[in-house]
């Protein structure tokens, strides 16, 4: 979550699922928790019943989450920043913030450099030719010692609080309503409900997911709410938090382990081209504290990196070769994300692609472009338990996949893999729990585990390099592979690798032996930067210690029913269940909400139901901030240079929008967004495509998998769109009638669900219609064949993460007599 890290220091859900029951107000915006995460949503219901909590839903559609909400307000897709900036304005204007919290735990009082400015939709430093910012002015004013200057009285005109006030002043309720289409009274009612949680003993939790991320301003959507939560004092407390509800069972784990183009395990980042030497690389990763005495935990980066390289390359990683620094690839651009990858394919710059349990033909924007890209590959390897559309992209399935097989020269390998039930290992859930699971049965036919397949490819490659030589074989030949069964390494051994071990006898400062050589480490605190420890993923250190597999723990006891269950499985970091939990107590160490303390200072140490996300004996009087990953120790209302489009969130229209950006018509959409020229040519205009479309999941299905399952196919058998009664009437569309929905990029023909749950929104005086496009259908599996929502979606991503803008784009719709055949 590249939006939470700039604010809090870590990009992950802050609280646990069960902790939601402690909330006094649950706001679901940018997500549809009841449908996408029903079993997590139970804790919202629990909060309502046990804690008299209120549930607020803000969504373009009246969803199944809204069906159990206390208050619902509609919003135009892609305008959440305007809504939430309006909330911030309301909170500041009515002085509904938790002052002591904001003063001590946020950067509200820190002073920003002269030169920082925001004018007409642009922050200071914009280079319109490159479409990028020079972000140097977006930072603190430092004193002689290199510490940020601070004015805790918030009098200084350039302190963050005052800059924020100025920044959000434009988001009046009238303006919010004009942009979002949310009726003013509904907006203000929600502001009032949110404001109540500024009380120290009240907490609001924000539950969100891809409804916020899948925008060209996705990261800033989330940041805006993160700022609201900081102002209300709702981070680190029971029932509070920014709860990013991850979509896939182990997407948190894959991100933690760094399976993204620029990442390494544990949120370390790969070097960029300009970081020529290891010292260059480390220079930008020193993370020196920006306020006196702060933890700034990333200052240990070198320990994590060296230990990782030892785990990767063992004896071949030496001080002499800078721990094999050059053996990892360097990035010449910020990201080789999926949109970039398919752009490269379409440009003929890629030859091979491996899809491990992934179905880009369904999942990526602009399906036509995906098919064209795959068609230009020399080879495509799919590894999946199921027959995916991607593996059959070359096959003609009629209008749903009009491929010309003979023209497509791609060699395709469809490799059958095991599924969850047929393998052992851990998965990291949204709340960062690593839970171990066991194998129940053998896979069908000749299906094999991914570990076996990846090992098979690796061994063959290594063998070829051994025999034939070739381009830079060193990392391949020296990759650590000392597994008991090299053909199929045991997950238990791999988990121990990630936990890390001592390579020599480790002694503490007093000379006492901490770990014998070869012993598993207890946690990342034992990592060293001299090559005497190894750890494949430092944040997981502690998951498998000499005490055994912590991820397999099954003690569900939960002291005080706090929603922590500290001995169930294991959570990173260091089994802390609620991140930043130091902030659950006031600066003196007493809980804000005495009824629901998480940790508190007992005079000598921090005690409570959770492991402190803090130095366990650091005294309150030391004024160490609760956001220990941040160099300033506090949460960031002003994100410094961490976001590409600005330190404060600003409302920009989606790339395809029916409305003019009324705040600054000259800067219509995110100025820092990356758009490839051919993709830009494929954007539609409101004249041709007058309706806003948004894509989403239905609770009966999981992406493109469950259409292979009979039961789920029974529960939602066929592709459809949702359309409001007013638009249906206007367009002569009958309930359950056939429609053709088209964007600039393609069209789908499917059934229409005419519903009262989508109503036209008055946006800047004009009625704006929203069309809902569920995304589950394709041409394999048991459900009826469908086109897939990604036929329509634009190929553009969030400026920071390149998450595709699936949630707001333009389409047209018309009634048709029947399906195409």
């Amino acid at each position: 979550m590249a939006s939470l890290a700039p604010t809090f220091g870590r990009g992950a859900m802050t609280n646990t699922w069960q902790d939601i029951k402690n909330a006094d107000l649950v706001i679901v915006m940018g997500g549809n928790a009841a449908e996408a995460h029903p079993c997590g949503f139970k804790w919202v219901i629990e909060a309502k019943i046990e804690n008299a909590a209120k549930l607020v839903v803000v969504d373009p559609r009246f969803t199944r989450t809204a069906s159990v909400a206390d208050y619902y307000a509609p919003i135009r897709p892609g305008t959440d920043i305007a809504f939430l900036s309006g909330v911030i304005r309301y909170l500041l204007e009515k002085d509904k913030i938790l002052h002591e919290y904001v003063r001590a735990y946020t950067n509200a009082g820190l002073i920003i450099k002269e030169g920082y400015a925001f004018e007409d939709g642009l922050f200071s430093g914009y280079d319109s030719e490159k479409g990028q910012y020079d972000k140097s002015s977006w930072d603190y004013e430092l004193d002689d010692q290199g510490f940020a200057k601070v004015d805790d009285t918030w009098q200084h005109p350039r302190c963050v609080m005052n800059l924020l006030k100025t920044h959000v002043a434009r988001y009046t309720p009238e303006m919010v309503s004009r942009i979002c289409g949310t009726p003013q009274d509904k907006f203000l009612h929600i502001c009032e409900m949110i404001a109540e949680t500024a009380a120290p003993d009240k907490a609001m939790t924000s539950l969100f997911a891809l409804g916020w991320t899948q925008h060209s301003i996705g990261s800033q959507n989330i940041r805006t709410m993160a700022m609201v939560q900081l102002l209300l004092g709702n981070i680190g407390v029971a029932g509070g938090g920014m709860n990013a509800l991850r979509g896939h069972s182990n997407i948190q784990g894959l991100t933690d382990v760094g399976l993204l183009s620029n990442l390494m395990p544990g949120y370390m980042t790969l070097a960029a081209d300009h970081e020529v030497t290891f010292d260059d690389y480390m220079k930008t990763r020193l993370y020196k504290p920006l306020r006196p005495g702060q933890t700034s935990y990333w200052s240990n980066y070198r320990k994590f990196f060296v230990s990782f390289q030892k785990s990767m390359f063992g004896k071949a990683a030496t001080p002499e070769n800078n721990w094999a620094y050059d053996w990892l690839p360097k990035l010449d651009i910020p990201l080789y994300d999926i949109i970039k990858a398919f752009e490269m394919m379409n440009q003929g710059q890629m030859n091979g692609y491996i899809c491990q349990g992934f179905n880009p033909q369904q999942a990526f924007p602009d399906r036509g472009k995906i098919r064209r890209g795959l068609s230009k590959l020399k080879f495509l390897v799919t590894m999946d338990p199921l027959d995916t559309e991607t593996s059959r992209f070359w096959e003609n399935f009629g209008p749903q996949n009009p491929a010309d097989s003979a023209e497509i020269q791609t060699e395709v390998f469809q490799l059958p893999t095991t599924c969850f039930a047929e393998e052992e290992g851990s998965l990291v859930n949204s709340a960062r729990w690593l839970q171990w699971h066991w194998k129940a049965a053998e896979p069908p036919g000749k299906a094999k585990p991914d570990i076996w397949i990846m090992s098979g490819i690796f061994h063959r490659m290594r063998e070829l390099y051994r025999k034939e030589g070739g381009a830079f074989p060193d990392p391949i030949l020296n990759l650590t592979w000392d597994y008991t069964n090299p053909v199929e390494p045991n997950p238990n051994e791999l988990a121990k690798d990630m936990n890390g071990r001592a390579l020599v006898e480790l002694k503490d400062e007093s000379g006492a032996v901490v770990k014998k050589a070869g012993e598993l480490l207890d946690g990342f605190g034992q990592l060293r930067d001299d090559g005497t420890t190894e750890s494949g993923c430092w944040i997981f250190s502690g998951c498998w210690t000499e005490q055994g597999n912590q991820m397999a723990r099954r003690d569900a006891s939960d002291p005080r029913e706090a929603g922590i269950a500290p001995n169930w499985a294991w959570a990173w970091p260091a089994n802390r269940r609620i991140l930043y939990n130091r902030a659950s107590a006031d600066p003196a160490g007493n809980p804000w909400n005495p009824a629901k303390p998480i940790i508190q200072w007992n005079g000598s140490k921090w005690v409570g139901v959770d492991v402190p996300d803090y130095g366990p004996t650091v005294k309150p009087s030391d004024s160490v901030g609760p956001f220990i990953m941040n160099a300033e120790g506090v949460g960031r209302l002003f994100a410094r240079q961490m976001m590409v489009e600005g330190p404060f969130p600003e409302h920009y229209e989606p790339l395809e929008s029916p409305a003019i950006n009324v705040l600054h018509p000259k800067v219509q959409s995110n100025p820092a967004v990356r758009v490839f020229p051919d993709d830009r040519a494929d954007f539609g205009t409101p004249a041709e495509f007058p309706y806003v479309a948004t894509t989403y999941r239905l609770t009966e299905h999981f992406h493109f998998w469950t259409k292979h399952a009979r039961i789920n196919s029974i529960l939602q058998p066929q592709e459809f769109i949702e359309i409001g009664e007013a638009l249906a009437k206007e367009k002569g569309i009958a309930q359950n009638g056939w429609v053709r929905v088209a964007s600039k990029r393609g069209f789908i023909v499917c059934k229409a669900y005419v519903t009262k749950r989508i109503k036209p929104l008055m946006v800047d005086g004009k009625p704006t219609h929203v069309i809902g496009v569920p995304l589950h259908w394709g041409f394999t599996g048991q459900a009826k064949k469908g086109y897939g929502a990604n036929t329509l979606t634009p190929s553009v991503g969030d400026a920071n993460t390149q998450t595709p803008e699936f949630k707001a784009f333009l389409v047209n719709v018309e009634s048709v007599s029947g399906p195409l055949v």
Binding site: G40, N250, L259, P329, Y336, A363, F413, Q435, K446, F472
Partner: protein, 197 residues
Amino acid sequence: MDLSRRGFIKLTGATLATSSLGALGFGSCGEAVAENVRPFKLTHAKETRNTCTYCSVACGILIYTLGDGAKNARSDIIHIEGDPDHPVNRGTLCPKGSALLDIVHAPTRLQVPKYRKPGGTEFEEVSWDWALDRIARLMKDDRDKNFIAKNAEGTTVNRWISTGMLAASASSTETSYLTWKVARSFGMLVFDNQARV
């Protein structure tokens, strides 16, 4: 678990039921009724703990398999339901989780490695060895041809961007760690997961 009765009854039906059903219904005289009610199908099935493969709530599940693990019995998954001990889902499952059995046994589960040749109109079955040999050959040829050891400025960059990889979102952490090792040892940068979609 340390739960008050009030808290207990309110959590979920699942937990409630396990507590009080001994005193209800068929508890004491199941045998007679069992002549007529459907026989309980899990009596001797093996139970395996697992985690739901779908979203990141990560509900605990219990997988029931046919066969007791004897050498001559091939276990077959016959039923999957929620793990009542799991602190998050407490035995509950959503419509996807409740239907996990049908994804395990989906008719479109892949059984054998298949290969489609350039311009081909259908898949043909191939052996694992053939497939992996061919993949390694293609990858090595591409890597050797397109590997970038140094950029224009002469900086060592050691990257390979003409072949990319998407990593699974539902594979285990251990699988993903191994995948990371393999992919990065090749110098791959076009490397992504499903966090965005």
